[in-house]
Symmetry: C2
Subunit: 227 residues, 2 copies
């Protein structure tokens, strides 16, 4: 029954949106703890990562069940295989948000990450990329997906700028070593979050067009004739 | 043509073995740099991670092409979807090996990670788990896959022991803060490598049995009748 299949695809899409919201909440909260240094909230973020992991397993199970039982073809098949992959990127973003929170949660406040100028810009850019990448995926919005991919340059530029800022601070002996190390780790986690949001956008493009990292895999579909 | 499909599955299996070897070489070399402190080798490991990323994209492309063009069913479908997922875990192990090498490559030797007693044991255990998990996957060896999953307890116990060692060293003021931080990062990367090797083993079990995190998804296959 096509209707049953469609309703399962809708459940899949809704569950991806739910996971996206959880990860977005976690990242937003983690970024906020960098200025609030609220250790209780930070510990809560670390603990809540389990819920995101659980959501990932749920979506993987949904995708595999759909693949095994419904033998989808064409766009449906691309959508389900892309979903199976993109949740891995969402889960990594969740991990990295938790890693940022962990630094705040388990570091003495005197060793807290330095409030580098580039960090708030990185936080803002990655949070936007994350939300947009999930929307691009669930709304089948190719234009938005391409915008997310372009936005990663901004995050990379901020990361380079954060490193330059930090080198200056360390040279001038203006911070404790622990703070400097924590700062660069936060910047690195944010930079990787940008990469994963870009991957989500790339999976959105694959689901819609069959193009994987610039290579069209749809032409390969003519191989069906070879069977 | 079934023969053509079989030969493509063989290419897939061989390419997974190749990727597994690259990641294993990288991890082995990264662990060695922890005692040799050979920064040239460490920099080479960091640079070589690109090759692993490339291999991942190649395997993903192969899997997606097979899914889209050959419409596999039953075990073949489980094998291909499991392959699509497990390369994500192999890539993360590659990343973490590169992260370990990066610490050696870009840290002043006086800040090098402390040679904690638990680290060589963790290195040995994770390297073994990695090789065994890939073998379990390509040889369809359920017994070996379950052994890998059990082995993760050893890695977790070593991680706990590394933390205890480090707390003692820091309390006795026997190390620089940078060294202590680098040590705990190395231990944490190794602990995560164990988790990813365990995931690879879980995908091996899914490919063979249709069981995903303890839930059988094969029963769902009866839903085909609903179509």
């Amino acid at each position: 029954m096509r209707n049953r299949f469609d309703s399962q695809l809708e459940i899949l899409s809704n569950t991806i949106e739910e996971m996206g919201s959880l990860v977005e909440d976690s990242l937003r909260a983690a970024i906020e703890t960098l200025s609030s240094l609220d250790r209780a909230t930070a510990k809560h973020i670390v603990a809540a990562d389990k819920e995101i992991d659980q959501k990932q397993k749920e979506i993987e199970g949904l995708c595999l069940r759909l693949l095994l039982s419904q033998q989808p073809v064409a766009r449906d098949l691309r959508l389900i295989s892309a979903s199976l992959k993109m949740v891995g990127d969402l889960e990594r973003i969740g991990d990295q948000a938790a890693d940022i929170a962990e630094i705040v949660a388990y570091t003495d406040p005197s060793d807290a990450p330095i409030q580098l100028e580039a960090i708030p810009a990185m936080g803002k850019a990655t949070l936007l990329m994350l939300g947009q990448s999930v929307s691009a995926f669930t709304d089948r919005d190719l234009h938005l997906a391409r915008h997310v991919i372009d936005s990663d340059d901004t995050v990379d530029a901020c990361f380079a700028s954060a490193k330059r800022e930090l080198v200056q601070i360390v040279k001038n002996n203006e911070s404790r070593a622990e703070s400097a190390i924590n700062s660069i780790m936060v910047a690195k986690y944010l930079e990787r979050i940008g990469d994963h949001a870009m991957n989500v956008a790339q999976w959105a493009i694959f689901a819609e067009t069959g193009t994987h990292h610039g290579v069209s895999l749809i032409n390969g579909a003519t191989e069906i004739d070879d069977k």
